[in-house]
Subunit: 399 residues, 2 copies
């Protein structure tokens, strides 16, 4: 049965309540009040000692989050800017790279690499499936000439809710000996452990509106010593995204260009909250929310889109059968003021996505499951025992 | 007489008062409370109709500010990102460009152009002097082969407080027939009239922490039809700064990458305030503040750094004789909680700069002049009649 959106209009026509909307999309994510208030302070001069103190402190906090002693640099821009910077600062025109592609963001890094004239070999997996580490091992092992300069891949694929096995793939890159690993950790950092040093990652890109619990506008690039060595040879043109300029400024606790000062205030406040919670507690919370969301969906007969065992701790994609996912998603927003994400590109109408990333507590997850269940119930589309979704989620939250 | 900074320490050692600092630097500039509060709202989804409405509205407001019907695109980044985008989207490797250079920002655009392999011909003027439009006319007239693809220059040179004659130089570019004009209007837009269409400008770059009365983090690029034609041929690599992507998204009232949503809230609020004041009133206010600041400085024997008649409406650079400008600047901050800007590069210690840009009223200008005068008086460095500075500024403010 396919439910027509227009036919649903009357029961859901009541206007959503002003200022009540809760974000459960994969970014922007909910922002704590203390972070919002920190952001509304009057800006200070970005060449002042007061601002230098913030840069110094947030740099140490960022290293803590990345579990690294490497440089972590801050760019005013989006996560794409961070990833582009990571790619164009360590590579040169014509360099051969492997790009993992099992979703919209994997596709994007292929496009970035091609825009700069890199020689891109794409390693694909179907959307919803994880990248196969064996594909990377084989391609890297076959490269006895050491022509592959980098492996670019997405850790948590936001478009499909799949988490790729970055640890194993990174180990194959290390075994190659020459190639660098460049990882999009935009929706994994702050959701699960990404120990940069322990895994030997060379470049990590991320963005502020995800696990960082703050609004969009800042992007982060961590660079290993090997990445900096490659920077020395890179010939791709850049200026605003030239990480050497950021590194030099960071050594003086500063930025090369006027940064988004107020977002730095937010960053400092958000990272302070994260440090108070602790990395292990943060990761456990996200794992618990993934489990509860998955259990809730399955209990009400809503299939998960990501392959079993490969669901992201940040986002769960759901592929309802017999109903347009957009209809369901919009009904949840209209009735319960919860914003879920739709499917991207060819998944539009086929999946909806529940973000459980950043400033999300057990109540939020329970609420989202209950709202989806109530909406299914209202539409006459619930395929199991009404209430089973919430019960399953609650059981998973209780551990 | 040169005053030693250390010797001044005791009288100025009192801690500045918390949260009292007033910014009178050329960026960040003061931000109205209503703009700060707008920014502290919880973010909304950037793919939502609510956000589309903000993009639609701010786009129209930006066109009003630029006095144009051209596209004005919004990038999350700094003014440098806007200028780099303007340059790399309309040019190709090896293209010949003229770059005006009479200060730190002129220098920067030369560096950006060189970073991308452009063939740069620099037209220089000494720091403190304006660019000579005749130099541009002659170089363009001599280019009968029409090899010059663009003229890049800074309208208000923030480092020296000089306003260049963009209108006349742009007219020479139009007479050339092929070259495009690419103007850094970072500290002129919102301070004086920059009628993009009337002057026939092709690319204008600006940044949010200046005349826009909001914090840093958003950058703006306006593009003429001729600029878009050049975009079609441009072969310089780009992705995050690819303006074609921004144009396509803007046509759907959206952004290609996750934008700094909360800064959009601020932008909307700030532009609404600017529209309520009106362009002519805004420009008159800045002209009045320039006149008052100049009159005040001259009345107390502090020479202006910019050549007479070429002072920027946004910023006044002052070159005190017989005293380290940094000593004076720091004393004003310490005693009166007003942050002035220092000199950049070789001007450090030789000039200080007073920003009178954006959310600045007559009281702020009078206060800054009074604080500088009181500081000179306290240091025994006042060269005229004590009180003459404030009196001259007040007279200028009264018109």
């Amino acid at each position: 049965m396919v439910v027509d959106c227009a036919a649903l209009a009357p029961p859901f026509a009541a206007a959503a309540m002003q200022d009540k909307l809760t974000l459960m999309i994969p970014g922007p994510t909910p922002v704590p009040e203390s972070v919002l208030l920190a952001m509304s302070r009057h800006p200070i001069g970005h060449r002042s000692p007061d601002f230098q103190a913030i840069v110094k402190r947030t740099t140490a906090q960022l290293q803590w989050l990345h579990q690294t002693s490497n440089d972590v640099l801050v760019i005013t821009g989006s996560g794409t800017a961070a990833m582009e910077a990571g790619i164009i600062n360590v590579l040169s025109k014509g360099d051969r790279v492997l790009c993992g592609d099992n979703g919209k963001f994997g596709e994007r890094w292929v496009k970035v690499a091609q825009a700069y004239g890199l020689d891109v070999q794409v390693i694909k997996a179907e959307w919803g499936q994880p990248l196969d580490p064996e594909d990377f091992r084989a391609a890297l092992a076959a490269d006895t000439a050491k022509a592959i300069k980098a492996v670019i891949l997405t850790h948590s694929e936001t478009s499909t809710g799949v988490i790729n096995d970055l640890e194993t793939i990174a180990s194959h890159v290390r075994a190659h000996g020459t190639a660098l690993s460049i990882a999009d950790c935009v929706t994994s950092l702050g959701a699960c452990s990404v120990p940069m040093d322990a895994w030997g990652l060379d470049v990590i890109g991320s963005g502020s509106q995800k696990g960082y619990m703050m609004p969009p506008g800042l992007a982060f690039v961590a660079m290993s010593d090997r990445a900096w060595q490659a920077y020395g040879h890179s010939n791709l043109p850049k200026f605003y995204l030239d990480l050497g300029k950021y590194r030099k400024s960071a050594q003086a606790d500063s930025n090369p260009f006027t940064p988004a000062i107020n977002l730095y205030f937010a960053l400092e406040a958000a990272l302070e909250m994260m440090q108070a919670e602790g990395l292990e507690a943060i990761f456990a919370r996200h794992a618990r929310h993934r489990a509860a969301t998955q259990a809730g969906m399955e209990a009400m007969g809503l299939p998960l889109y990501a392959a079993a065992g490969h669901g992201s701790p940040a986002i769960t994609a759901v592929a309802p059968e017999g109903v347009d996912a957009e209809v369901l998603r919009k009904a949840v927003k209209q009735r319960f003021d919860i914003l879920l994400a739709g499917g991207q590109d060819h998944l539009k109408g086929h999946v909806f996505r529940i973000g459980h990333l950043g400033f999300v507590c057990d109540r939020d997850v329970l609420t989202a499951v209950a709202a989806i269940e109530a909406t299914l119930q209202g539409l006459g589309l619930h395929k199991g025992t009404v209430g089973a979704g919430v019960a399953a989620a609650a059981a998973a939250l209780a551990g």
